[in-house]
């Protein structure tokens, strides 16, 4: 089976893409590649150009912010089945934190410029993708608000 077929199969099976039309899945397949990172690798770093988003197939990543003098602080994590990265959608397309592979990570990497080009040709695909990314952003914002409350501290 070709790599493109494998990629298409993974996209079809991933909950993030559930219900997406065949035509859109084929367009996404053309913008994706399989990538793997050994443990400890920085997949991207804060301030770098955000060109990609990742659907994790296996392994775990840590989202970190370097906060001197404490050093790096893990602020979130993602594992198999999760999606990492939305800075590629938002101007100026820069990562706001570091993402590091905690374990060996294999993922599908979607090229942001390629996707945005597809959306220009097919706005319905862009709408479909925003419908999927906005709930992720919403959940992340809600979780961040709870983290800010430091709810487990002294009562």
């Amino acid at each position: 089976m070709s790599d493109a077929n494998e990629i298409e199969r993974f996209i079809r099976e991933h909950p993030f893409f559930e219900g997406m039309a065949d035509e859109h899945i084929k367009r996404l397949t053309g913008c994706a590649e399989r990538v793997c990172f050994p443990p400890g690798t920085f997949i991207f770093k804060e301030g770098e150009e955000a060109r990609t988003f990742f659907c994790i197939q296996s392994g775990r990543v840590a989202l970190e912010i370097h906060a001197p003098p404490k050093g790096s602080v893990q602020i979130d994590s993602r594992k198999a089945g999760d999606v990492v990265g939305w800075s590629w959608i938002v101007v100026p397309y820069r990562w706001y934190c570091d993402v590091r592979a905690v374990e060996e990570v294999c993922a599908l990497a979607f090229d942001g410029a390629c996707l945005r080009g597809q959306w220009d040709e097919n706005p319905r695909l862009g709408y479909e993708m925003y419908q999927r990314f906005v709930p992720l952003m919403h959940r992340s914002l809600q979780a961040t608000r709870l983290q800010l409350l430091d709810i487990y501290g002294a009562k």
Binding site: S77, V102, Y152
Partner: protein, 282 residues
Amino acid sequence: MPLPGIATHGDDPMVPHPAPILAVRQETLDVFTLTLDVSSFARPFSPGQFTMLYLFGVGEVPVSISGDPACPERLEHTIRAVGSVTRPMQELKRGAALGVRGPFGSGWPLEAARGKDIILVAGGIGLAPLRPLIYRLRARRDDFGHISILYGVRSPADIVYQDELADWNDAAGMDVSLTVDHASPDWQGNVGVVTTLLDELHCDPGNTLAMTCGPEVMMRFVIRALNHLGIADHQIYVSMERNMQCAVGLCGHCQYGPAFICRDGAVFRFDGIAPFFSIREL
């Protein structure tokens, strides 16, 4: 005359019994577990019940029982040192004594959980009141379906019962998921609030009971997430905390709508208190 709903065993529930400390275990920097010898006045307790612990000459605090219900003569309490009573309590050594009243209040719905999948959601020291229930679930493991324990803490240094968490996951047939709010780079586990663990849970909502204990704001968001999974309010139990003083429903300090937390709780089925849960003045 015995007070309704209070297991006095002929004793005055307002009189503390002296109980020597058998062991002190430091769980985290500010959380410790005391094992008390109550063999001279031991009485059975239900998981979820609490006692009043009296530091002689200083004051009295309500603390959930965190030990094994199979050993009621050795009461365990896991306590965070945060106030004028619990801070000096942390300095106590083996052989010192505390006054004990109780046990008081309602317990987790063990019998109602038979045959069902169970989700336990704990935040911070909120794992302590669930621990006796976990011992009971383990002792009768075949009586229950899938058991998930979801536990959130501020940081890896704040995890209590570390060894037991691993044991419950590895040997007791329960799925333990742990997450921390933030961590240093050497942490290998989940990072994020405890509600994010519920996003990943697969359960049969019609045959599930959920029980949660932790800060009230955490439980509010946990209940929303459980409802989102299809688990209704009548399938959710919460352990509430208020300013409990008499522990027998007389003083009124812990009044919560028509209920007293000390007498009618601290464990409530959520549909019974849902109308009051969103009233900020309560």
